[in-house]
């Protein structure tokens, strides 16, 4: 499947990655951030160091999360993961490694999976954020969620939201994934309980029911 968008390839290419963000922040006073554009534009160019300075005090931003526009007051150094968890109490999104290597914090930006721990909340802009809390529609579970329940695809459950996000994205974008596709879709998701075999079964089963 050539046009398939996989998790591993869909890290944000635009905007400020946390590493470049931290590099930029290092030039300014502690906690404040040099932004090259205003907070809601997304065409950040790393080589530019002049720009508007934000912080260190909190500022009010707007963000569209699960279809609702929320207003929140955040320090510019806040990550999207922290904004969701600590400010909007959307704690389904988990922070495990805090450096983009376990996918527990996976959310969608305009439908594409990203690691929310690696993204400045100021970089979200007008993009639509979807979290695990936004996957079930009107109380009706996504087929992947239903299949996770039926196949016992969670143990402690801490990786489960991120795992569901990766598998829902696969099933929604690939009408007939095979085992290899499921493995690729979840290859960034760490599950320490070792629930992978049931995740694979559940996702393949869900894809059959989605057609």
């Amino acid at each position: 499947m050539e046009n398939k968008k996989q998790k591993g390839e869909s890290k944000p290419t635009k905007g400020i990655s946390r590493r470049s963000f931290i590099r930029g922040a290092g030039l300014s006073t502690a906690g404040s951030v040099l932004m090259t554009t205003n907070a809601f534009a997304l065409d950040y160019k790393e080589q530019l160091v002049t720009g508007k300075e934000f912080g260190p005090d909190a500022m009010t931003i707007k963000m569209k999360v699960n279809g609702i526009t929320k207003s929140l007051s955040v320090e510019p150094r806040t990550t999207l993961a922290s904004a969701l968890r600590d400010h909007l109490e959307l704690t389904g999104t988990k922070v495990v490694c805090d450096r983009g290597s376990c996918s527990a914090c996976t959310v969608y930006l305009d439908g594409e999976p990203v690691n929310s721990c690696m993204l400045s909340v100021l970089d979200v802009g007008e993009k639509k954020v979807t979290t695990i809390e936004g996957i079930a529609k009107n109380g009706e579970l996504h087929p992947v969620q239903q299949a996770f329940i039926e196949h016992d695809a969670s143990q402690c459950g801490y990786c489960t939201p991120g795992m569901v996000m990766s598998c829902v994205h696969l099933v929604d974008n690939n009408p007939a994934p095979d085992l290899e596709d499921v493995k690729k879709a979840t290859r960034g998701n760490l599950c320490r309980c070792g629930t992978y075999p049931h995740v694979f079964k559940a996702t393949l089963d869900a894809s059959k029911k989605t057609i």
């Binding site: 389904g92 969620q145 996770f148 489960t160 690729k184 760490l190 075999p197 049931h198």
Partner: protein, 796 residues
């Protein structure tokens, strides 16, 4: 810690009336029979085998799965209380030092900081820095204090502003260096095993030994040395003698250790990410001199522990001290780095093993000597597996703990036995080869366990063992290999396991205990047990556990939970049901022993016209609820040991198929067949999940994980997820599980856990498969590409 727990509950012989009942006994499809037991009169009647039950033994979906897949499940780290502050620990950044001063003035004046608490020195007799205000630093990452602030970011900033002055001392990281004469001494006083440390039922003595080498431990609850080793090896016609090495690996649960403490005037509530709510309560009550009744520990969802989360740690008291100082709730969860360096690991081992046998295969002697390091902790033994897996008249072990300036070890899924199995099961394989026997046939000869015999037969058929070729006979770059490994784990029981079952007068049924569900599915099996006994469905049962305001249940360690808490759950349900049926019997003017509940309906054995729904029956109650509490009773037939170890073992046999690339040294595990027993299986879906997890952690242990500490600085260099390699989806082998039902008539449910057995044999099976593939044995894990290429003499 389990030793303490189990020893505390000396077996009490009940002076009570008994009755005789017949129970299923043995393995269906193999040797199933019936056995008569004399049991306390109030015990419920024997359950038949699973085939004849409605809910037990079935693939029931996890009752909390919906909350997990929707993100609604609230873990400790997700807690947010009104006015809550965030805390961060201050940790030493040197491995061995005396602290001459700590300056908190800059941190204190940082806006948003509410309190700073420093850990005070509590020196033991004879300790080196008795006069110092602060404790001695013994490893890089040791907790020294903590800060509570408006946000986690501010707390982190404040920690950076604290200046600690160290008077550095020589330190030692490498275990073999630490054993040398003249090595820096980690502790010059006797030390005690920490609450989380070591093996189930074992306490290592830190007062014996010289320098950094403590011990040896020469016995376990299975006894001490047996027979005469010298004579045994004299009689031997074939001897295998090797040294095996295993690495340190860390638990790395996805949710780190941590608590949220809300200390109100009348009660201290501790939301804890723990495997043992009751033990955390006991520790906090003891530290803060509070009655247990005024400490409440709550754990509704828990993001993984694997053995390391039985204690309140230092973060628990730290959060409570900060809550006390600020009068506000305090959130204190560790970060990934702290988790790796300070919250437990499986100790390393260097195991010398010598096994002798006669030409016919009869074992004549097993000698074991091990050294392992749990850093500044104890408990680095290699378990009992060499002592008990294969009967041998002559046996001795010496297990030494070596102290190093590294984070303390902790119990890690089948502590000791995973290390021990890696050595023993390779040695048995090597012995089989020397005797010209197939490894499986040789185990048939020397293994007396009936359940493992069945597992070998059924497992070999599923795995197609007969396709196995002689070691190293494959051609081509990528070579296939097949191997097998076995394990045993005792049927541990914690008698201090209590549960309350309530029937409400609207038909609701509730079960309550402090026992926690750490992802193993405890909530679901409790609902199944109550539903089966009450004649209801799983969805009708509300399970409220993980709260010390309820009757105290066991800690989730040693695979004790299922065997300890399901019998009292059934018994309390049985008692509550009896009371309800008495009310119905009164109304129907009959005897309650004639009544039953089936599919939510109360009926009469001999009168089909008498019928009433369960809900209707509960309306007959005079009070709002019927409430019955029960505790774990003695095993039927008594215990093997006086302090709560049931008879028999939980045997398992695992088969591994690997592909080894002889050009790159890359090992891929293609398939594992895992054959396991756990008494009466309660929920096959959840059992499969746990076995998969144990196998995957075994693959990880065999091939990937390795804690690396820089010997020059004492700092762990891979304390994160990206450099601490564990398997992700691409490395997951095909896993087939095979669960063998085995009835032993030991309790009202006859069920046991699977957590630890699932993890023991995998690394040994993989190592044996690697040998079968390349014809050269690897004696050290992790088996990396470089170790394969070295073994093949392709690199030096």
């Amino acid at each position: 810690m389990f030793l303490r727990l189990l020893w505390t509950h000396q077996k009490k012989r009940y002076n009570m009336d008994t009755r005789k009942d017949k129970f299923p006994h043995g393995i269906p499809g193999h040797n199933l029979s019936e056995i008569e037991r004399e049991i306390p009169i109030e015990e419920p009647p024997a359950w038949p085998i699973n085939k004849e039950l409605k809910v037990i033994g079935k693939r029931v979906t996890r009752i909390d799965a919906h909350d997990k897949v929707t993100g609604k499940a609230k873990f400790t780290s997700d807690m947010k209380l009104p006015g809550m502050l965030y805390a961060k620990m201050l940790r030493s950044n040197v491995p061995h030092a005396e602290i001459t001063g700590i300056d908190i003035s800059k941190a204190k004046s940082l806006p948003g900081v509410h309190a700073i608490h420093l850990i005070e020195n509590a020196p033991k007799e004879g300790e080196e820095n008795k006069g110092s205000k602060y404790p001695m630093v013994k490893y890089a990452g040791q907790p020294l204090g903590g800060v509570a602030a408006e946000s986690l970011e501010i707390a982190k900033d404040a920690i950076k502003l604290i200046e600690v002055n160290y008077q550095r001392k020589p330190f030692v990281i490498d275990m073999e260096k630490a054993m040398e004469i003249g090595a820096p001494i980690v502790f010059d006083v006797p030390i005690e095993q920490q609450a989380d440390g070591g093996d189930v039922g074992e306490v290592h003595d830190g007062s014996k030994g010289k320098g950094n080498v403590r011990g040896p431990s020469t016995s376990s609850f299975f006894g001490g040395p047996r027979g005469d080793l010298a004579k045994g090896f004299e009689e031997a016609e074939v001897v295998v003698e090797n040294t095996y090495r295993t690495q340190v690996h860390t638990h790395m649960p996805l949710e780190t250790h941590g608590v949220v403490v809300d200390w109100k005037t009348d009660v201290m509530t501790v939301y804890a990410s723990t495997q043992n709510t009751a033990n955390v309560r006991n520790e906090m009550a003891s530290i803060f001199n509070l009655p247990k009744s005024k400490v409440r520990v709550v754990c509704e969802y828990m993001g993984g522990g694997f053995g390391a989360k039985h204690s309140a740690g230092s973060y628990g008291p730290m959060a409570a001290n900060l809550a006390k100082k600020t009068g506000r709730p305090v959130w204190l969860m560790l970060d990934r780095k702290e988790e790796h360096i300070a919250e437990g690991n499986r100790p390393s081992s260097i195991q010398y093993l010598k096994i002798g046998a006669k030409k016919d295969g009869t074992l004549t002697g097993i000698q074991q000597r091990s050294h392992g390091t749990a850093g500044v902790g104890l408990g680095a033994g290699v378990g009992r597996i060499a002592q008990v897996l294969y009967p041998c008249p002559n046996f001795a072990t010496e297990q030494y703990d070596v102290l190093t300036n590294a984070g303390p070890g902790a119990a890690w899924r089948a502590p000791g036995n995973v290390q021990g199995a890696f050595g023993l099961e390779q040695a048995i394989d090597e012995l089989a080869e020397k005797l010209n026997k197939d490894p499986l046939e040789y185990r048939d000869l020397i293994d007396k366990s009936e359940v493992r015999k069945v597992e070998r037969q059924r497992g070999a058929a599923l795995f197609n063992w007969s396709r196995r070729q002689p070691a190293g006979s494959g051609k081509g770059v990528v070579r296939k290999g097949l191997g097998v490994g076995q394990s045993t784990w005792p049927r541990f029981v914690t008698l201090d396991s209590s549960v309350e079952v309530k029937i409400h007068n609207d038909g609701g049924v509730e079960v309550r205990s402090s026992v926690q569900d750490i992802g193993t599915g405890t909530k679901t099996i409790l609902a199944q047990v109550v539903a089966e006994e009450m004649g209801l469905q799983v969805k009708d049962i509300k399970v409220n556990i993980g709260d010390t305001f309820f009757p105290v249940g066991p800690g989730s360690g040693g695979s004790v939970v299922t065997g300890s808490i399901t019998p009292p759950t059934r018994n309390a349900t049985f008692e509550a049901k009896k009371e309800l049926l008495k009310l119905v019997a009164k109304k129907w003017e009959t005897d309650s022993s004639e009544l039953f509940i089936k599919d939510g309906q109360v009926g009469h054995k001999n009168d089909a016209k008498l019928n009433m729904s369960f809900k209707e029956a509960t309306k007959l109650m005079r009070t709002s609820q019927i409430s019955k509490t029960a505790s774990r009773s003695d095993d039927y037939g008594g215990f093997q040991q006086p302090w709560g170890l049931a008879f028999g073992d939980l045997g398992s046999v695992q088969f591994a198929e690997v592909s080894v690339n002889t050009d790159t040294g890359f090992v891929k595990v293609d398939k594992i067949v895992a054959a396991h027993s756990c008494g009466r299986p309660l929920n096959t879906g959840q059992l499969e999940s746990q076995i998969n997890g144990g196998v995957i952690q075994g693959v990880s242990y065999a091939l990937y994980e390795n804690r690396v500490i820089d010997k020059a600085t004492g700092h762990m260099v891979n304390a994160n997820v990206d450099q601490y390699k564990v398997p992700f989806s691409m490395e997951i082998p095909e896993i087939e599980t095979l669960i063998v039902e085995e009835y032993s008539a030991r309790s009202s449910t006859d069920a046991y856990g699977i957590g630890e057995p699932a993890n023991i044999a995998t690394a040994a099976a993989i190592a044996n498969a690697v040998y079968n593939a390349i014809g050269v044995r690897i004696y050290e894990i992790p088996i990396t590409p470089s170790s394969i290429l070295k073994a093949l003499k392709k690199v030096s």
